[in-house]
C-alpha cells in the first residue's frame, strides 16, 4: 500500500515537469515499456487484445477445420480439447477484457476532464504483466503433455485428478491475469471517484464512464474469488488438499458453486462496458441525447446486483432441489427487465433521430439486434425444464457467442471506429469500414445462427466428432467461421491505414458527438486537461 502511494507522489513530481514540455516523451521501446501515460497504456492494451483476438481466432479456426466434416481428420481429440480450452481463456481474459480496459484507459480521463489515471505506475504494471500471463498459458501448449484441456471453466476433477500436468501453468497464468484486472479496476474506480473535473457530478458523467465504474466494482468483487478457486485447484492437484475431492471429504459440486459465483458476474463484466459504448455511439449518430439517462444508470446497477444471485443457473443439472431451481430461474429471468429497459432506451433514442449510418453506428445497430437475440436464447436457457435439454449443447455455444462476439466484440469495433479519429488524427477509410462491417455481419450469422439448430437437435459441445445428421449445418458454420476470421484482417488493414494517413480529423470528428473528449484537438495531445475544464 504505502509503496504504491509513495511512488505515486514521485510520479506526480514528474507530471509537473511534463506539463512544461507538453509533448515530451521517451523514444523507441522505452516509451512503451516505461510509459505512465494513460493514452499510451490504452494503446498497448488495445493492440495486445487485438493480437490475442487473432491468436484465439486461429484456435477457433483449428476447431472449425476439425468440425468441417464428421470424423477425425486434422487434430487429435486431446489437442482439440486444448484448443477449445485455450480459445475460451484467451478470448475472455486476453481479447475482450483487455480491450475494455484499454478503452477505459484512453477515454475515461478525457471524458471526466482528468489529466491521467489516478495511479499511472500501477497502470503500467497492470498492463505489462499481461503478456507474461499469456506467455505462460501459450507456452504450456508446446510442453510435454500439452496445455490445459479441461475447458475454460476448469471443472474439478478434470483440472485436478485428471489433469495432464498443465494445471500449474494454467493456475499461475490466471493468477497474473486476475492481479492485472484487479489493479486495472482499482485504478478506474479511484480515477472516477477522485479526478472528475469541477462540476462533473456523478449523474453528469457520460454513461460510458458509469458502466466502467460499475464493471470495475464487479471485478473487485469477483476476481479475488476466481483467484481463490484456482488456488484451491492448485493445492488439490499438487499439495494433497481435498477441497473438491470426494475421497478426502470435499465436493466437486462445490467447485461449480465457487466458480460460477465468479463466472456469472464475469459475464456482466464483459457486457456492461458494451452497454456504455453503444449508449455513447447511438446518440451521436442519431443526433439526439440518450433517452432515459438515469434509468440506464439504475438498470446497469440492477444488472450488476442481480448478477450475484443467479450463478446456479449454470448448474441446473447437478441435482439441485426444486426450490433452488425455481429461485435461480426466476432471479435469472428478472435480469431481462433492466436489460429490456436498456434495449428500449436505445430504440427510443433512435426514434425520430436524424440517423446516419457510419461504421460505428452500423456496428451499434447490429449490437442491439444481435445482442437481443443472444439475450433471448439466454432466457430460454434460464428456464429450468428446457435447460435439461439445452445443457452443454451447441445451443449454449450459440447463446454465449451471440452475446460475446456480436455483443461485446461488435461494441468494441463500434468504439474503435468512433474514437479512431480522436486517437490517430485521421478519418478512417469509410468504404473499408463498411466492407468490414458487412463481411463480419453476414459471416458471423452464418457462423453462429445454425449452432442454435445443432444444439436443439442435440449436438454436444466440446466434442471433436459428431453424428452424421449434423454434417450440413457444421459445414455452414465452419465456412462462416473462416469468413469471419478473414474479415478481421480488413479491420487490421483499416486501422494501419488510418494510423499512417487519411483525411485530417477535426476536434469534433462526428457531427453529433458529445462530451469532453471532443473539445481537445485530434489527435489528442499527449497530455490533456492539465488544468481541469469547467463543467456546467
Amino acid at each position: 500500500m504505502t509503496t504504491v502511494t509513495d511512488t505515486m507522489e514521485h510520479v506526480d513530481g514528474h507530471h509537473d515537469h511534463h506539463d512544461h514540455h507538453a509533448d515530451h516523451k521517451m523514444t523507441g521501446i522505452k516509451r512503451w515499456l516505461l510509459t505512465t501515460n494513460h493514452k499510451d497504456i490504452g494503446t498497448l492494451y488495445l493492440w495486445f487484445s487485438f493480437i490475442m483476438l487473432l491468436t484465439g481466432g486461429a484456435m477457433a479456426m483449428v476447431i472449425r477445420a476439425e468440425l468441417f466434416q464428421p470424423g477425425l481428420q486434422i487434430v487429435e481429440p486431446d489437442f482439440f480439447n486444448q484448443m477449445t480450452t485455450v480459445h475460451g481463456l484467451i478470448m475472455v481474459f486476453g481479447a475482450i477484457m483487455p480491450a475494455f480496459t484499454g478503452l477505459a484507459n484512453w477515454m475515461i480521463p478525457m471524458m471526466i476532464g482528468a489529466p491521467d489515471m489516478a495511479l499511472p505506475r500501477l497502470n503500467n504494471w497492470s498492463f505489462w504483466i499481461l503478456p507474461f500471463a499469456f506467455g505462460i498459458l501459450l507456452a504450456s501448449l508446446f510442453m510435454e503433455g500439452g496445455g490445459p484441456n479441461f475447458g475454460w471453466t476448469f471443472y474439478a476433477p478434470l483440472s485436478t485428478t485428471y489433469s495432464n500436468g498443465s494445471t500449474a501453468f494454467f493456475v499461475f497464468a490466471v493468477h497474473i491475469m486476475g492481479i492485472s484486472s484487479i489493479m486495472g479496476a482499482i485504478n478506474i474506480i479511484v480515477t472516477i471517484m477522485n479526478m472528475r473535473a469541477p462540476g462533473m457530478t456523478y449523474m453528469k458523467m457520460p454513461l460510458f464512464v458509469w458502466t466502467f465504474f460499475i464493471t470495475a466494482y464487479l471485478l473487485i468483487a469477483v476476481m479475488p474469488v476466481l483467484a481463490g478457486t484456482v488456488t484451491m485447484v492448485l493445492t488439490d492437484t499438487y499439495f494433497g488438499t481435498s477441497f473438491f475431492d470426494a475421497a478426502g471429504g470435499g465436493d466437486p459440486v462445490l467447485f461449480q458453486h465457487i466458480f460460477w459465483f465468479f463466472g456469472h458476474p464475469e459475464v456482466y463484466i464483459m457486457i456492461l462496458p458494451a452497454f456504455g459504448i453503444v449508449s455513447t455511439t447511438i446518440p451521436a449518430f442519431c443526433r439526439k441525447p440518450l433517452f432515459g439517462y438515469s434509468s440506464m444508470v439504475y438498470a446497469t446497477a440492477s444488472i450488476a446486483f442481480l448478477s450475484f444471485i443467479v450463478w446456479a443457473h449454470h448448474m441446473f443439472t447437478t441435482g439441485m432441489p426444486l426450490a433452488g431451481e425455481l429461485f435461480f430461474m426466476y432471479c435469472t429471468m428478472l435480469i431481462a427487465v433492466p436489460t429490456g429497459v436498456k434495449v428500449f432506451n436505445w430504440v427510443a433514442t433512435m426514434w425520430r433521430g436524424a440517423i446516419s449510418f457510419e461504421t460505428p453506428m452500423l456496428f451499434s445497430i447490429a449490437f442491439v439486434i444481435l445482442f437481443t437475440i443472444g439475450g433471448f436464447s439466454g432466457l430460454m436457457l434460464a428456464m429450468t425444464p428446457v435447460d435439461f435439454q439445452y445443457h452443454d449443447t451447441y445451443f449454449v455455444v450459440a447463446h454465449f457467442h451471440y452475446v460475446l462476439v456480436t455483443g461485446s466484440l461488435f461494441s468494441i469495433f463500434a468504439a474503435v471506429y468512433y474514437w479512431l479519429p480522436k486517437w490517430t488524427g485521421h478519418m478512417y477509410d469509410e468504404k473499408l469500414g463498411k466492407l468490414h462491417f458487412w463481411c463480419s455481419m453476414i459471416s458471423v450469422n452464418v457462423l453462429f445462427f445454425p449452432m442454435h439448430f445443432l444444439g436443439l437437435a442435440g449436438m454436444p459441445r466440446r466434442i471433436p466428432d459428431y453424428a452424421l445428421q449434423f454434417a450440413d449445418f457444421n459445414k455452414w458454420v465452419s465456412i462462416g467461421g473462416f469468413a469471419f476470421g478473414l474479415s478481421q484482417l480488413i479491420f487490421l488493414a483499416l486501422v494501419i491505414k488510418c494510423i499512417r494517413a487519411g483525411k485530417q480529423a477535426e476536434a469534433k470528428s462526428w457531427e453529433g458527438a458529445e462530451g469532453l473528449e471532443w473539445t481537445v484537438a485530434s489527435p489528442a495531445p499527449y497530455h490533456t486537461f492539465a488544468t481541469p475544464p469547467k463543467v456546467d
Binding site: 479511484v190 494433497g240 475421497a247 478426502g248 471429504g249 465457487i258
Partner: protein, 180 residues
C-alpha cells in the same frame, strides 16, 4: 493531479485493497459455508458423517420403502466392492443390517474410503446410520477381503411422496493421500 486529491486517492485505494482481500477470503469461506448449508438443508445427498443412535418411536408398518444399493469404485481404485443385495424393503423406523464386500486387488497394502450419497438428495437427512463402514478408512493388505457392516433405519418423518431411496457408495483408494 492536484495536491488535495492525494489523501483521498490513498483512502480509496486502501478501501478497495481491503475489499479485494475480503473477497479473496470470502472465496475460501464459501467452503465451510457450503458444508454447513448442505448439512442444515440436507441438500446434495450428503448423509451424516458420524453414527446416530436409534431415535424413532415405533415402526410405521403402513409404508414400505425400497432402498437400493449402488456401489462403484473410483477410477484409480483396483478394488472389488459390492453390496450383498441390490435392494431391500424397509418400513420407516425399522432397523436393517446390510453387508458390503470389499477386496483389495491392487497387489499391495492399501487404504480405501467409501463416500456415501443418497438420492433423492432431500432424503439424506432421513436416512439414519447407526453403524457404517463409511465412517472409517478401510486398510486392507494385498488380496485381503472383508465384509463391511451397514446398520440403518429410515426416519418415519420421511416425506410421504418418497417411496424409493438410492444409497450410493463410491470407494476411493486413498493410500497415496495418506502416505504423503
Amino acid at each position: 493531479m492536484s495536491e488535495q486529491q492525494q489523501p483521498q486517492i490513498k483512502k480509496s485505494v486502501a478501501k478497495l485493497c481491503m475489499t479485494v482481500v475480503a473477497m479473496f477470503a470470502f472465496g475460501f469461506a464459501l467452503v465451510p459455508l457450503y458444508d454447513v448449508f448442505c448439512e442444515v438443508t440436507g441438500l446434495n445427498g450428503k448423509t451424516a458423517t458420524e453414527a446416530t443412535t436409534y431415535q424413532a418411536d415405533g415402526i410405521d408398518e403402513s409404508r414400505t420403502i425400497t432402498v437400493q444399493f449402488i456401489s462403484r469404485t473410483a477410477k484409480n481404485a483396483a478394488w472389488q466392492f459390492e453390496p450383498e443385495m441390490n435392494s431391500i424393503q424397509v418400513h420407516p423406523g425399522e432397523m436393517k443390517f446390510v453387508k458390503f464386500y470389499a477386496k483389495n486387488n491392487t497387489g499391495a497394502n492399501a487404504v480405501a474410503q467409501a463416500v456415501p450419497s443418497v438420492s433423492p438428495g432431500q432424503a439424506a437427512n432421513y436416512f439414519q446410520k447407526i453403524e457404517c463402514f463409511c465412517f472409517n478408512q478401510q486398510p486392507l493388505q494385498a488380496n485381503e477381503d472383508i465384509w463391511m457392516p451397514l446398520q440403518f433405519y429410515v426416519d418415519p418423518d420421511l416425506p410421504e411422496d418418497m417411496t424409493e431411496l438410492t444409497l450410493s457408495y463410491t470407494l476411493y483408494d486413498i493410500t497415496a493421500t495418506i502416505g504423503s
